[in-house]
Amino acid sequence: EDKVVQSPLSLVVHEGDTVTLNCSYEVTNFRSLLWYKQEKKAPTFLFMLTSSGIEKKSGRLSSILDKKELSSILNITATQTGDSAIYLCATVGNTGKLIFGQGTTLQVKP
């Protein structure tokens, strides 16, 4: 059965800290891995990763995929209170079905 596991489940940091969120997966016919940020509403798209070893960056956020280790990390540098959210990792197989992890709840304190 396809599975996505995220760690840690929750994290509390102070503004300015750097955080690394982890995602590991077991997916049949893996095609891509996606990261989403969810505040009090719908998940908003951050990154889609398909190739191993190529970092994607958007401002203070970056992510990379390791297909050998079946994992991905999401880094946030110089965290701000606005980064407080649930970060969701999801994988896509051949069917196009998104399998989500349980999410990492990040709280950034001032």
Partner: protein, 113 residues
């Protein structure tokens, strides 16, 4: 560009009552998804449409849940009758096709009393 639109945003009903959720995807997006998200969990797929066709409904509890996407644009998800365990956020998402990123609507928070 307008995003995925869902209504209502919140719904409170008593158990055994019916309820329906509506979703209008991003214009031009052929693939539409309904997810259910329980508290503290990631979203779980209920059904996926490619145009009008339901191509993956393996997780949809067919005894009480039904969905339709007439004309391949907007979609309705119905629960009849609702049970206490159906309380969750119901998210709709759309994508250009099954291999591109999915964009989510704001969700409908359902509370069954």
């Amino acid at each position: 560009e307008a995003g995925v639109v869902q209504s209502p945003r919140y719904k409170i009903i008593e158990k055994k009552q019916p309820v329906a959720f509506w979703c209008n995807p991003i214009s031009g997006h052929n693939t539409l998804y309904w997810y259910r998200q329980n508290l503290g969990q990631g979203p779980e797929l209920l059904i996926r449409y490619e145009n009008e066709e339901a191509v993956d409904d393996s997780q949809l509890p067919k005894d009480r849940f039904s969905a339709e996407r007439l004309k391949g644009v907007d979609s309705t998800l119905k629960i009849q009758p609702a049970e206490l365990g159906d309380s969750a956020v119901y998210l709709c998402a759309s994508s250009l096709d099954r291999s591109t990123e999915q964009f989510f609507g704001p969700g409908t928070r359902l509370t069954v009393l």
